[in-house]
């Protein structure tokens, strides 16, 4: 393979790696930016999405865990991938609504640290429930049959088709969310609420419903990420927290509350990972943290983040 082809392959891989982080990070970022709520349980939403996708997509055989003990050895519906891609976001959206109403809302007035502790505890609980129900082992989330082949690309030659789909789905979702926030009245209220919640309330707009919706949309995005990213990694109860940490880095690098920041941060992190894997695999994981440290030292508010008015 020529150097050019290799480079492009690495860059494409990085884009695909970053895409998952972008999906998770946008949800984190808009919830953090708009509601000022730190959601350490966002990984748990990803986890729910992955398992739900797994069950809807495949006819999976459960060999371990309480569900198997209770006699549900085959729980998968075998409906295929597209239904999962449509149903799971709705499901996780509802979970997100419930979470805003019953978990986040009572804690808006409590200190930041309490919010973090609460969602951290919640993440543990969700993770443990999944561990008990499905057992601790990893399941293999097969990619959909219609996208499991290789595709011919101009410079690269062959490239796994599924990875292109990930990039495509992510791009479509991002455009959708961007449009929702930038060009609708709902988005206008949300953006205004991010700037100055008090002023918006004074103008006679109740913010509780937009807040509910923002949390739901953010959760649904994590659900999409769970389905799309499922086939990339083995599915086990720890996957949620493993996705959460890099996604937080994406938010911090890109700037809180900014969708384009999350996209930029996600691409940067994904590319860093892919390039490091190609040239110095040992350092690949360390690389993204070094990147985060450098960005922070240079621009504490993130690359596309606004300067904070109140510290």
């Amino acid at each position: 393979m020529s150097l050019l082809a290799e480079t492009v392959t690495v860059l494409l891989n990085g884009l695909q790696q970053g895409a998952i982080y972008v999906l998770v990070a946008i949800g984190l970022s808009i919830i953090l930016g708009t509601l000022k709520f730190v959601n350490f349980a966002h990984g748990a939403l990803y986890l729910i999405g992955t398992y739900a996708g797994l069950l809807i997509t495949l006819e999976i055989t459960l060999t371990d865990g309480k569900l198997a003990d209770w006699g549900y050895t085959t729980l998968g519906l075998g409906w295929g991938f597209l239904p999962a891609l449509l149903i799971v976001p709705v499901l996780v959206f509802v979970v997100g609504l419930a979470m805003e109403r019953f978990v986040a809302r009572p804690f808006y007035d409590r200190p930041d640290t309490d919010q973090i502790l609460l969602t951290f505890g919640l993440a543990i609980v969700v993770q443990e429930v999944f561990k008990i129900l499905f057992g601790g082992q990893s399941y293999n989330f097969a990619r959909p049959g219609w996208a499991s082949g290789q595709v011919g690309l101009p410079i690269v030659g062959t490239f796994p088709e599924w990875r292109l789909y990930i990039i495509g789905i992510t791009a479509a979702v991002v455009v959708l969310v961007y449009g929702l926030i930038e060009y609708t009245d709902f988005g206008l209220v949300v953006r205004a609420g991010t700037r100055d919640a008090e002023m918006v309330e004074l103008l006679g707009i109740k913010l509780s419903r937009p807040y509910l919706m923002v949390f739901g949309v953010g959760a649904a995005l994590a659900g999409v990420a769970g389905v799309v990213g499922g086939p990339l990694y083995a599915v086990n109860p720890n996957i949620g927290t493993e996705v959460l940490v890099p996604s937080f880095l994406v938010v911090v690098i890109g700037g809180v509350g900014s969708i384009s920041g999350a996209v930029l941060g996600g691409i940067l992190i994904g590319e860093t990972l892919a390039i490091m894997v190609a040239i110095a695999p040992q350092w690949s994981q360390v690389g993204i943290y070094v990147l985060a440290a450098v960005v922070l030292l240079a621009r504490p508010q993130g690359l596309l983040g606004a300067e904070e008015v109140t510290p």
């Binding site: 919640l122 443990e128 940490v245 911090v252 350092w283 943290y289």
Partner: protein
């Protein structure tokens, strides 16, 4: 909000009976309780009696089913949680990266023992110094953002330490296998750590426990001294309102960094002790779940009090090591193996109980965060206060 009950040196009513007047002249119970020597003395006593109560006392240990090594482990994690609490409970900074200091110190102590000296005291000093140094660096970077970002950043840099130890530094850390070459010498060149203490081994067990217990008492004394000094008052001021502290003219950033370094050093002491305790450093000591565990311990026990986190560490480790082994939850005093057997046939409340311990702990943690922000220790304090009020006291 102040933690200690307000002292009332100028009590308005001076007309009391003779008995009351003499009582006032005696040093008040509150003042004794606040005094440094009392705190250190009670801690020493508790640390000395703890393993006996836990593992060898006639009836209690039969109920508790504890063992000597668990008592040691609880003290080690207690030091860790106490140091963590200096940051969270007193300065209001929530760090999710303390595994970096615990693990870093554990590895530094292990490598130091293999390469330089196997003297336990020197090992602890080396590990602690390493942890304090890394806390300085990580704190310097992480404290550039406050509040939630601080939590995220410490989490991120803690994970960075994990990945550093996993592969780029694997030539010295042993990568996934952990560090196995720990060498342990004699304490002060005389006492072999594994040997029982002659004469009082029924009470405190081995020299290892003497070392760990001694360090734990020292740590409590140091933490107590810090918290009751003007320096510690600044920490509390920062927790309450860091902007106001800034306006008063304090360099808040520097105090926060110092609190971070001190708490990192405590984590380092604990990490080095852990290396001495297990003579092995697992890679998982760097993983972020270690940070999570110390967060849970501190919050569960109660932040903002000196002993709450130690209690939390005890509860966590007890549940992890003893309760998780219970396969069948039965009603107390039923079944053949109980101390007070009332009914021979055990009354089973829940089967396969041990598998749920982590979930139950998670639920309890969430409940504590929502309902009792001051943790179990705070709950006990409130109960004690209510009882005293019932009894007619102040």
């Amino acid at each position: 909000m102040s933690d200690e009950p307000a002292e009332t040196p100028d009590a308005p009513e001076d007309t009391g009976t003779a008995v009351e007047r003499t009582r006032r002249e005696l040093p008040s119970w509150e003042r004794i309780r606040q005094s440094e020597w009392f705190v250190v003395g009670v801690t020493t006593l508790a640390v000395a009696v703890f393993p006996w109560l836990f593992a060898r006392a006639p009836v209690i240990s039969g109920v508790l089913r504890g063992y000597q090594d668990l008592a040691t482990l609880i003290l080690i994690w207690g030091i860790f949680a106490m140091g963590f609490n200096l940051l969270l409970g007193y300065t209001g900074l929530l760090s999710f990266g303390h595994a970096a200091f615990w693990g870093g110190a554990a590895y530094a102590a292990g490598v130091f023992s293999a390469q330089v000296s196997s003297s336990p005291i020197l090992i602890i000093l080396a590990g602690t110094a390493f942890a304090a140094l890394s806390a300085w660096i990580l704190g310097f970077i992480s404290l550039r953002r406050g509040g939630i970002y601080f939590a995220i950043l410490t989490l991120a840099f803690g994970q960075m330490a994990y990945y550093m130890a996993l592969s780029p530094m694997a030539w010295i850390t042993g990568g996934e296998n952990g560090f196995t070459g720990v060498e342990l010498g004699k304490l002060f060149g005389v006492f072999h750590l594994r040997y029982p203490v002659p004469g009082i081994s029924w009470l405190i067990g081995t020299w290892k426990y003497v070392l760990v217990g001694g360090v734990a008492v020292l740590c409590v004394a140091v933490a107590n001294r810090i918290l009751h000094s003007p320096y510690g008052m600044v920490f509390r001021a920062i927790r309450e309102n860091d902007q106001r502290a800034e306006f008063v003219g304090l360099n808040v950033w520097r105090y926060k960094l110092m609190a971070f370094i001190i708490s990192g050093a405590f984590a380092g002491i604990a990490g080095s002790l852990y290396t001495i305790y297990s003579a092995y450093v697992p890679l998982s000591s760097f993983y972020w779940t270690t940070s999570g565990e110390v967060v849970i311990m501190a919050v569960l026990g109660g932040v903002g009090s000196l002993f709450g986190p130690i209690l939390g560490a005890g509860i966590y480790l007890y549940v992890e090591n003893i309760v998780s082994g219970v396969q069948q939850l039965t009603l107390p005093f039923t079944g053949p193996n109980e101390y007070l057997t009332l009914v021979q046939e055990p009354v089973v409340l829940m089967d396969g109980f041990g598998a749920y311990w982590h979930l139950i702990l998670g639920l309890v943690f969430v409940a504590v965060v929502v309902l009792f922000p001051r943790g179990i220790w705070g709950l006990l304090e409130d109960l004690g206060g209510a009882l005293r009020k019932l009894g007619g006291g102040r």
